[in-house]
């Protein structure tokens, strides 16, 4: 059975902030993200942090980026978090064009939070910046359309990944082998066509 797919993007992604002033400066005043909602909660939270402000920035298409500021809570900094996790956990905000990407880079480079990296990945070009809270934020613009072939390949990859992690020593070499077997099995009944001949 195919599951229906009716979700439509990000309602909001939420993070904690211990520096709401810098956070609002960065997102609203530097990047130009409108503040679109703020919940001011008195005694609503649990005993350890009953009072908080939950505020939201519009990041396009009605999607929102939200922060919690908790009154009376000491700033918490996790210095133990591995760099790998710090880089992996990031929010990528979509822009449509190279001009839009350049404009957000310009805004960053004229602020206290300059662009740290600009790179052309396989399907997107991205700029990266660490926000005032230490969260990695990416802006990405498409370099090419994602095709039905990409989707088919991604599903073979997903199935091969699920299989390889069950092995004693998962490796990319074994992943490639398993995926090749899945591809061969899927198209075994179809005649191969000569290419570039």
């Amino acid at each position: 059975m195919t599951l229906t797919h009716t979700v439509c993007g990000v309602d909001h992604a939420a993070f904690a902030t211990f520096d709401p002033k810098a956070t609002i400066s960065f997102y609203r005043d530097v990047l130009g993200f409108p503040v679109v909602h703020a919940t001011c909660a008195l005694g609503w939270g649990p005993e350890s942090h009953p009072d908080f402000i939950h505020f939201f920035f519009d990041i396009g298409h009605g999607d929102r980026l939200a922060f919690f500021y908790y009154f009376g809570v000491k700033p918490y900094v996790d210095n133990e978090i591995p760099e790998l996790l710090r880089r992996a956990r990031h929010l990528a905000i979509h822009v449509d064009t190279a001009e839009d990407l350049a404009e957000y880079r310009r805004r960053l480079d004229e602020s206290d939070w300059t662009c740290e990296l600009q790179v052309r990945h396989e399907t997107v070009e991205s700029i990266y910046v660490t926000d005032p809270n230490g969260y990695l934020i990416e802006f990405a613009r498409p370099l090419r359309a994602i095709t039905v072939e990409d989707d088919i390949d991604a599903n073979f990859s997903a199935d091969a990944l699920m299989a390889v992690v069950d092995e004693d020593q998962p490796s990319l070499a074994r992943f490639f082998q398993i995926k090749a077997d899945l591809i061969a099995a899927r198209y075994a009944g179809e005649a191969a066509e000569g290419a570039f001949v």
């Binding site: 990409d150 088919i152 020593q169 070499a173 490639f176 082998q177 899945l182 000569g194 290419a195 570039f196």
Partner: protein, 93 residues
């Protein structure tokens, strides 16, 4: 053992299959949405000949059967057929 390198048929990756096809010891066929690059002996694809930029080059391999990657750097993608068990050889690649 025949090595099968699968390359997805999209504009970014197609040059790998096209460059591989110029090798007289390599056969390239279309298999579903993939190019299947077949070889009985070690072969390699020169990156410069593909024109692939960095990120595309390093994401261009969809799958490999019957062989293992022995080189995948800024210059070449090289694949050798696996002797004996595909599982053991691939695991040691």
């Amino acid at each position: 053992m025949t090595t099968k390198l699968y390359v997805l048929d999209v504009d970014d990756f197609r040059p790998l299959a096209q460059v591989a096809a110029k090798d007289p010891d390599v056969t390239v066929v279309k298999r579903g949405p993939y190019y299947e690059v077949l070889a009985e002996a070690p072969f390699r694809i020169e990156r410069n000949a593909t024109g692939c930029r960095n990120a595309v080059w390093y994401s261009s391999v969809a799958a490999v059967a019957g062989g293992h990657i022995t080189q995948w750097d800024k210059d070449f993608l090289a694949i050798e057929p696996t002797a004996g068990s595909a599982h053991e050889a691939a695991g040691s690649a």
